[in-house]
């Protein structure tokens, strides 16, 4: 992925240049960053159009060709430097290379603020119709007291800061992919047709001759196949259990488990709670149904997208958090690909979990605290990076 890093200052010495060089060097496995200076760009003047000058055309070309742009800004007088402002004026006057371009903002300053105010100004400027960049929300990277932040090799000294920055970069890569979809004609495309959600096909294990939508599909299917139950023994890899033991075992899992096969048929869930007590509701009559019958039509495109990620091997697991359970729970839907020994896709193991108790237990056991949402930028917190954006965890 090709990224252009713009140094937001025209000063001969700039820590923001050092920061961008560090990003280029340290994350070169993730992104390919070319750091560009703006020193040669003249002051904007609408009465003296220099859009065609070499310096502006060079920036224009580099930005147009890039997948995304990272701007590193210092803070002068609560705002961004005039040099950067001038560049953005040129790039919004006769030419608009930033239009629809994914942009990430970082910034460094000598004081504890770490360019906090200038970053907000920059967001507003980039949002102006003439610029029309697509700025990544959240993930605010503020590097305060920058003169103490780098070692002699111009690497960030603080490993947590580097880790946070890496997290921001990884988010930015995803953000670029998302923006590309939004900006492309495909963004409007309904991908539901990429999956046979009505399970019209058959696979080796499909139990044929039974109405998938029948309320008693389980009973009919069991009868048709002569399925064992109760105290009948089943040989497993690796062990022997009775069907009852398997049921108890699966019901004791700290998650709601669902099995849908590669034909998109819903075959099993660990039924222990009634529909309204579950994190993701299921009912006994649904079992056997095609996935199309288990989701509202408006969700078909996303369901198909998730299955595609797993079926094509792009991902082994797709996770999504569902915030509608209130602040005391952190409910995650995990869609885990089930594959055979050769890696062939067999279906989805969807397990739904509230992971909050696990996080709480971990913190209690290790004596660690979560920082992030709780760090107050204005109070001059000791951490150099104010992760104001990560509201999902609270210290």
């Amino acid at each position: 992925m090709k990224i252009v890093g713009i140094v937001g200052s025209n000063a001969d010495f700039s820590y923001n240049r050092i920061l961008l060089n560090f990003i280029a060097k340290n994350f070169k496995k993730l992104i390919d960053v070319e750091v560009l200076d703006i020193k040669d760009v003249p002051m904007f003047n609408q009465s003296d159009d220099q859009t065609n000058s070499e310096a502006i055309q060079y920036l224009n070309k580099k930005i147009v060709e890039a997948d995304g742009v990272i701007i590193a800004t210092p803070e002068y007088n609560h705002s961004i430097p005039s040099a950067l402002q001038s560049v953005l004026e040129w790039l919004s006057f006769k030419i608009h290379p930033l239009d629809g371009k994914p942009v990430m903002i970082v910034g460094a300053s000598y004081d504890v603020q770490g360019s906090s105010r200038s970053q907000l100004h920059l967001r507003q400027i980039l949002d102006a119709p003439g610029v029309n960049a697509v700025v990544m929300p959240g993930n605010e990277f503020l590097l305060g007291e920058v003169h103490k932040a780098f070692d002699e090799n111009e690497n960030l000294k603080d490993t947590q800061t580097t880790q946070f920055l890496e997290g921001c970069i990884k988010k930015f890569i995803r953000f670029i992919n998302v923006v590309n979809i939004v900006e492309s004609p495909e963004g409007m495309k309904d991908v539901s047709s990429t999956e046979d959600l009505n399970a019209t096909g058959t696979i080796d294990t499909t139990i044929e001759g039974i109405d998938m939508k029948a309320d008693d599909w389980v009973e009919q299917a069991a009868k048709a196949t002569g399925a064992v139950e109760g105290d009948a023994y089943v040989k497993l890899n690796r062990g022997v259990l009775t069907v009852n033991q398997i049921n108890h075992f699966l019901n004791s899992m700290p998650a709601e488990l669902t099995y849908a096969d590669s034909n998109n048929q819903f075959l099993y869930y660990n039924y222990k709670l009634e529909e309204d007590e579950m994190l993701a509701s299921r009912n006994p009559a649904q079992v056997g149904s095609p996935l199309a019958d288990c989701h509202p039509e408006r969700a078909f495109s996303s369901v198909a997208w998730v299955i595609q990620q797993l079926r094509n091997g792009k991902e082994d697991v797709v996770r999504t958090k569902v915030p509608t359970h209130g602040p005391d729970k952190f409910v995650v839907h995990n869609y885990q690909a089930i594959r055979d020994a050769d890696g062939n896709y067999l279906g989805i193991n969807e397990y739904v979990q509230d992971i909050q108790p696990i996080i709480d237990w971990y913190l209690e056991q290790t004596g660690q605290l979560l920082t992030g949402g709780g760090v107050d930028a204005a109070s001059g917190a000791t951490t150099k990076v104010d992760t104001v954006s990560s509201a999902t965890v609270k210290g």
Partner: protein, 202 residues
């Protein structure tokens, strides 16, 4: 009579903010002497190590120091103020801090309906930075939208309501200058702190 400096916040040859300041100069000639200053010939700020103000910058700073107050009229570029105005303010904050405790009134004109509203908000925040520490008159927003249609051939504002609004703000500003000077004289330590301000050693 007060002595004011009017700063045109753009380097553009055609500027309705220039027209607006010229109108203010003319309309309030019995209340204040207003000298209109251009910033279009100022060099771009580049944070030189010697911290010396270029000749043009020093000339502007000297005028600001002597004046009782400053009126800045800014257009809006990209939700903010033009780079050239920002550059001018960077020079002042970096070299001679001429705007410290100086009473400032803001006006703005834009071709569109919004009349530079976002630029004024940014400008207030910028002027309020400790390195500049201007005394901006609060609660006084003067915006001219559709500024290309706002003046007649003689450079007069055609909307009588707008003129009355401007008169009120201008009268307020004259009082604000006096009040600010009282406030400032009682607190000299602010000035010392801001004069010693450095982006490096804060």
């Amino acid at each position: 009579m007060k002595n004011f400096i009017g700063i045109i916040g753009t380097n553009s040859d055609n500027s309705t903010n220039r027209l607006l300041l010229q109108f203010i100069q003319k309309h309030f000639a019995d209340k204040a002497n207003i000298e209109i200053c251009e910033i279009k010939n100022l060099p771009a700020f580049n944070k030189p190590e010697d911290k010396k103000a270029p000749y043009e910058v020093q000339k502007l700073a000297d005028k600001i120091r002597k004046a009782d107050g400053v009126i800045i009229s800014s257009p809006e570029y990209n939700h903010s103020v033009p780079a050239i105005l920002k550059s001018t303010l960077e020079w002042l904050s970096y070299t001679n801090q001429a705007l410290i405790d100086k009473p400032v009134m803001l006006t703005g004109a834009s071709y569109g309906r919004l009349g530079s509203s976002r630029a004024q908000t940014h400008l207030r925040q910028i002027l309020d930075a400790p390195e500049l520490k201007a005394r901006i008159m609060p609660s006084s927003e003067f915006l001219i939208g559709y500024s290309l249609q706002a003046f007649d051939d003689n450079g007069n504002l055609t909307d009588q309501y707008k003129i009355e609004e401007l008169e009120q703000i201008f009268n307020d500003f004259i009082k604000f200058v006096d009040i600010t000077n009282q406030l400032v004289n009682t607190n000299d330590s602010h000035k010392k702190k801001a004069t010693n301000f450095s982006w490096e050693e804060n």
